[in-house]
Symmetry: C2
Subunit: 341 residues, 2 copies
């Protein structure tokens, strides 16, 4: 295995000092245009690539971004968001010579340790912060650690980090209007808890939209796990007939699928006896029967925007929030007119 060419190999070939090679290769001023071109040519010819470890040692840069995800190990697989999100990150990262360091942890202790060691060991230049909580301690923590970050959604604490945002208001309004137009009056929402920011926001949007249509909102909070989604469904279906919702809007698709399953086990036909929707378009939603009405979502787009935002920030650009195309309604088989009684 031939030794990889280093900057001194390039310098020797070009007959210049390695300092100059560094300047030329990094497109820094102070190099004669001809010399620069010659050096760059030689570098590509002999297949030189910068060594991130060496570079990082002087630069204090890791050329890597960190993603720490905390999930209950039992339910970790049911989140349909991350795979495509990471694939989206990847496209941008690889283009820019960076890598993704992923840490999947089970509890808050391990989570904090992960953030601390990744930063302290200079393994990442910035963090991608997903699943924001109310009063999220990670914003402060990361600030203390002296690395950059980008958040998915807007934190409710002061932050100097940019956020990538998406407006769910029109999508949720459209979804609710669609249900009301079908004839639904009692519409329930199986939401996340108020400690989870995006769950909180969606819940508020839901209540507002339902009220706006003159219908009756009903909310059952959960932790977003399919198990609690199932339990919430049981609770709703156990209500006396005149309070029982005819449509249930679930905070995410896995909960919707679990909820459908509960309803079907009780002998309810979907959508004839009960309409069901998700709020976060996923592929599995297309596989179940009936296929799930939901809002669209493009995790890969999230990934691309998040990665470029954070990399720009790490490269010294001033932080700027970015906004994705708003969510839109996808009608599939799980929704229909309420039963006429």
């Amino acid at each position: 295995m031939a030794r990889r060419p280093t900057i001194v190999d390039v310098a020797r070939e070009a007959g210049v000092s390695k300092g100059l090679v560094s300047l030329a290769l990094n497109d820094r001023p102070g190099v004669n245009a001809g010399t620069r071109e010659r050096i760059q040519q030689i570098a590509t010819d002999i297949g030189w690539r910068p060594n991130p470890a060496a570079r990082g040692l002087t630069n204090r840069r890791a050329y890597a971004l960190g993603l720490v995800v905390r999930r209950d190990p039992r339910i970790i697989e049911t989140d349909p968001f991350f795979a495509a999100f990471i694939a989206g990150l990847e496209t941008v990262l690889s283009d820019r010579g960076q890598v993704l360091v992923l840490s999947l942890v089970a509890d808050q202790d391990a989570e904090e340790r992960a953030y601390r060691t990744l930063a302290a060991d200079a393994r990442v230049d910035g963090f991608i912060v997903t699943d924001l909580l109310a009063d999220d301690p990670r914003i402060d923590l990361i600030t203390t650690l002296g690395v950059q970050a980008v958040t998915l959604g807007q934190p409710d604490v002061p932050t100097s980090f940019p956020a990538v945002l998406r407006d769910y208001a029109p999508g949720i309004a459209e979804l609710v209007r669609y249900l009301v137009d079908l004839g639904h009056v009692r519409i329930a929402h199986v939401s996340g808890t108020d400690t989870m920011l995006h769950g909180h926001e969606r819940r508020q949007l839901f209540v507002h939209a339902v009220r706006g249509e003159g219908a009756e909102p009903l909310v059952v909070p959960t932790d977003f796990s399919p198990e609690q989604g199932a339990a919430a469904t049981t609770e709703l279906l156990d209500l006396p007939a005149h309070e029982r919702p005819t449509a249930i809007v679930y905070g995410n698709d896995p909960m919707a699928i679990a909820g459908m399953s509960v309803a079907q086990q009780r002998g309810l036909r979907i959508p004839d006896d009960l309409s069901v929707t998700g709020l976060d378009g996923s592929q599995i939603g297309r596989l179940v029967h009936p296929a799930l009405t939901t809002l669209d979502n493009d995790p890969a787009e999230w990934g691309r925007i998040v990665a470029s935002t954070l990399l720009d920030l790490v490269d010294g650009t001033a932080p700027v929030d970015r906004t994705l195309t708003p969510a839109g309604l996808i009608v599939r088989g799980s929704t229909g007119a309420p039963p006429t009684r």
Copy 2:
């Protein structure tokens, strides 16, 4: 933000040279026991941690493992294996001061590039190779790149890398026997293609087990995607009644769920009209209705064993294959006696 203590800080405190500190901190011979202890004590006191970049520069070690996953971006999210698998990797990695570099790529070109650059840039010390193919080019590629690897399953090409293995024979035999005992005679398998090693193996085990029970195997190959799982189901259900299977064993759980959905859309009740099983126990399998009979699986266990195997190898231990507890049957609601006609 206080500067992190370096090895010279430890040396100064201890009143020794930094070379000696390095020896002491790495548990190398040639240091007086008392001195060593004193140095180590001081190191922990002032919170010293080795800087992986600096260390790697001399060592040619990245203190990181690489996982490159190639998936069609559209179906990437449906694989229930990876999240828990990665969580399993993580527990071992963090214990040993290592990190996981994850690359999710869409096509074979990007895949090869990922392997090459991660190795060439010294970003990882070894690769975790999943989803083995027949004649898998990655074994040779990684060997050429001069880094280590561990495979999930046994490659069909010569390899010097250790493998982590799991015996599916007893589980598949148990599953088939269970179906036969219920009264099924025509049992179909929606399998992976022969280019995918674990699909190939399971298919062979299935055919062998069904024949062994005196029943009739029927196999439809797919690419393991839910889409093709659905198509295969249609194909099977379109067969004339006397050829049509009464039970379908799917190569993985997402295909089984898609298949159930197809059957249910055709008005078939599961398990009364058709029994359905997966082969790779997942959590989503518990959420659908009816819940999916399948073989158990512990992706986190895979992760832990794989990580420790590869780290040992990187640390210089001779490669040894490891074997997991064999698969066992999990009976849930999607299987029952065949319809009496």
